[in-house]
Symmetry: D2
Subunit: 327 residues, 4 copies
């Protein structure tokens, strides 16, 4: 906010070609040790996913976990550009090399769409994180089948600063053809920084952005926010916000675990999915806002808790107290 | 062929508005006891499927069995028009009311595409046939959720004349919002007769056909063939061809069954899927043309045999002899 | 900015369903005397245009002036959704009833797309404004042919506060099926308020927004800005900013006119298109930023001057002085 | 017809990979002296146009004369795949190098679609023919701007055998990146032979065909017809039919010209556009079938006469007699 105000009276070129967008891009190239990367300031995650996927040839498709945002929560926006999203039942919300083999084995000839891109999220929609070995194995599969690897980083900060994470952002970047660093869910008002490493995907990309309604007139708005978020690399505001969210989430996770509560997903990030009694869920909803993640089964409901940049330790303590009291 | 030659010198209006198309439509309205149905002469099955599905609103999707032709063998042609095809693992290649419930339960709000059409094939891609009670139960589900029911009849003749079928064409028509009577796979050189009963789907349909490359300049070619195929209702050439194909298929099925060979699918129509030893498959391929239907597993391969309008009883006998000899 | 900061710590529902969006919508319903209007907070003008146009049936097209933004400056984003934009040479950047007659006369039957929407901009891309009688005549044509009338208000403030304008915002609203009130070009950081009056166009509109990447996670950002801009109706910040821009533009227009300089377009708003000698243009570009609007012809170049919310009277005076000195 | 009947009992591979399609392709490669050309058997002209155009990158557009079939008579089928067709007012139905310059000058940057393909018809929709020098000049422009040149040959036979034509089919082929040899309007029941010379356009073309509903199950049907039509090169049935149609058209053209009747278009092929008095048109319509080509103006109406493979010299004489009697 401060950064936006400070820059509000500057005159800049429009449509994302300005000094703030350029500086934000430079910061990303440095922190990822990737001097040749193309960086684009995007308004939202769906916009990133759609614009990247629509760079495929018309008959090509994208492989995604069924829980993947591109498949599950974007109203068919990729299909709207004419490409199938091939959904597979993931393991803890993650794709595996075996699943990619399976998808490729269904592709036969000109009667079937050709899978050409693997889409995954880090962290996933259920809070899990790909390890270095998992992501490397998927990269190897992509090489085997000549697939692009595209990583949705809406919650990338949460992954990078989570317990047990063994991938730095530069490791991760090196394994992907394209990915984005999510701002909206990591302290920005809005905006994502899309990074394209493979030039086959960045051909005339600004044309593709405009065609998909993704070229913001005052593009500097996003540039300014990423400048402010990323300055300092691993000591930046971006890491700080994410780490804090994870820390509060760990308090919740540990606290709930100590009460013997089990979880819908082995999340290690700022989304937690405790499974509670239906009655307790109803009671908690009077005091706290959260989603029910799945339908009631056997009297139990998994809920989703998400810690945000404004969530405090005392918020977490209050929730844990309430659960102790109610369950 | 004969009918085409006889009419080759006639002068007719173009683009499917001629006396042959009209007569073919009239025959269909009579045999289905459906005087208000709209009938369109189409060049192929994919063209039918795509043009019907593209009549949905942009955010709507189609429910299909994973083995459904629309999902499995059309190179994403429906997705090319911007609509998701939601694929579900069918039971013997068929959708069930429970699967439709499952698909609808995934639809939440504006973040997910809205399923609006159920696509099924009669007979299915693996030769099975929906019974009256099965199809009625699906119709009821469609009514419950306000879904269109669209039936792909590429192999409709095979279904109508198969052992154990309990649905007449007029019964079937009454349960559907749209369906097509397949010509290509039932004696025609090419062409399918698409029947639309629900006017919500037929609005400006000829515009949709042209836009999807489906309006044949000399539309009479298809009309002439369907006139010849359908004259006589259940005594027509259409039924005769299909019944003969099923009869030869039954010979194969019974013969293979007597040898103790099992089948990949409980087909009752002119596609049969015996599971043979890999070595036998290799030997048989030297003499006969057929597809391997799935990959080898445990030394066994399911193959697909299809009887056509030219297949004879002695062809069947020769194949059975070869299997006896080789397996 | 102030308003955004003040609301930064509030907890609100996401995706444009929050109290700020609702309050902004209420202000719009009041100032347009249109209590039943549907209002959507959009990220940009292209997003408005594309999402509205994509609500047409697949075979329908949009009529636009060739200079219209939808046709000329959006990289075919409407065509990307499958709809033709039918471009006509406008008169001073405007459509006329005669042009609509012409477009409709080209529409024959199922071999041609069906024009179904008229797209116009107020003010136009070359700064002109539709008068009450002009817009009413177009509305009448739309009624005659059953066309939707959609108005792009990226520069609506400039039109409403321009010399000689005889249309209030409620007059204008009453003539349209849909329109948007532009924020990006009228004081907002970003965002447009799309108003849909005809329910045929608003069916499941939030699904359409999501599908076209137009649903902002933190939708309140746009709501907050429109609250701040529109509070007070014709005394609002929105009118104040636009009126000031027009006032400075009038100074430029009058000053240039007094020097005998002619204009490319009879603009009455904050875009002015003086035609200057090529040499003078080169000199002025050293001191001022502006676009050349068309290629040099006969030693002359039309340029585009746009006054913004930060342009001052002394900026205008400096430009006029420079022109006097240089031309 | 004869050829189709002769081959009706053959067993061939499906989907256009059979000996007849291959032989037809070979004949085309020979007569065009183009041994590396890729040839595809297509069901119709719209299908050719759409499948070729949809091979462009998403942000690219096609340049066409306004009267071009792709723009004027295909219900926006190319736009349905997301590409703009940029329509220009042609000269006698033809594009010119100057028109291409004009189209390219409108293309600026990422805010405008990038023209990438020139579409023209030979003969055109109003019966005119590109000369060698005209087509060469357009090829040069295409090279200058890196544009594909695609020629719609729905009426190619009529052009090749017309008075004054100075382009052989091999000359013409050498100037194009892709073109099709029309069957439907030149003696075939249906079908066009699409020839792609530039490999950038033929990448995975069969996938594109299937996706656009253009892969005919019994592809041999088209192959068989082209075998029969093209055997013999310039002595083939294809040339013979076209030459006969032109000859009868010349009789009509000359006869009408001798009566002092003027023409809407300087056609030299089998479409003729005499301008007749409205009253005479009404009278003639009682005896003959033809289209009115444009609206009545000053008491006169241009009509379109098309000679077909069945039109005889006495048909022409009867028409001329009627005009003499009635006009």
């Amino acid at each position: 906010m401060e950064a936006l105000e400070r820059t509000n009276l500057e005159h800049t070129d429009g449509y994302g070609v300005d000094c703030h967008c350029e500086r934000a891009a430079e910061l990303i190239r440095e922190m990822t040790k990737d001097p040749d990367a193309s960086v684009y300031m995007m308004t939202g995650g769906t916009s990133c996913n759609v614009t990247v996927a629509s760079c495929l040839r018309p008959y090509q498709s994208v492989i995604s976990a069924r829980s993947g945002h591109m498949y599950y929560h974007e109203t068919g926006a990729v299909e709207a550009t004419g490409h199938r999203v091939l959904a597979l039942d993931g393991v803890d919300g993650k794709l595996t090399p075996e699943l990619i083999d399976k998808a490729m084995s269904e592709f036969e000839d000109e009667h079937t769409p050709q899978p050409k891109m693997v889409y995954l999220s880090q962290s996933t929609e259920i809070g899990t994180v790909y390890s270095r070995s998992e992501l490397t194995a998927i990269r190897d599969k992509c090489d085997e089948y000549s697939l692009f690897l595209y990583l949705d980083g809406a919650r990338l900060g949460a992954a990078l600063t989570s317990r047990g994470n063994d991938l730095s952002i530069s490791d991760l970047a090196a394994l992907c053809d394209a990915y984005y660093i999510g701002g909206t869910k990591n302290g920005a008002l809005f905006g994502e920084a899309l990074v394209i490493r493979n030039r086959e995907l960045s051909d005339h990309f600004r044309w593709m952005m405009k065609r998909q309604c993704g070229l913001l007139a005052k593009g500097r708005l996003i540039g300014v926010q990423f400048e402010a978020l990323l300055e300092g690399g691993e000591q930046s505001l971006y890491y700080e916000i994410a780490a804090k969210e994870n820390r509060i989430a760990d308090i919740l996770r540990d606290g709930l675990g100590e009460m013997g509560i089990t979880f819908f997903s082995p999340s290690t990030t700022n989304q937690i999915f405790p499974i509670l009694k239906a009655g307790a869920v109803r009671e908690l909803q009077k005091e706290f806002f959260f989603y029910e993640w799945a339908k009631e089964r056997g009297g139990l409901i998994p809920i989703r808790l998400v810690t945000g940049w404004g969530t405090t330790e005392s918020d977490a303590a209050a929730f844990l107290d309430a659960v102790k009291r109610i369950r």
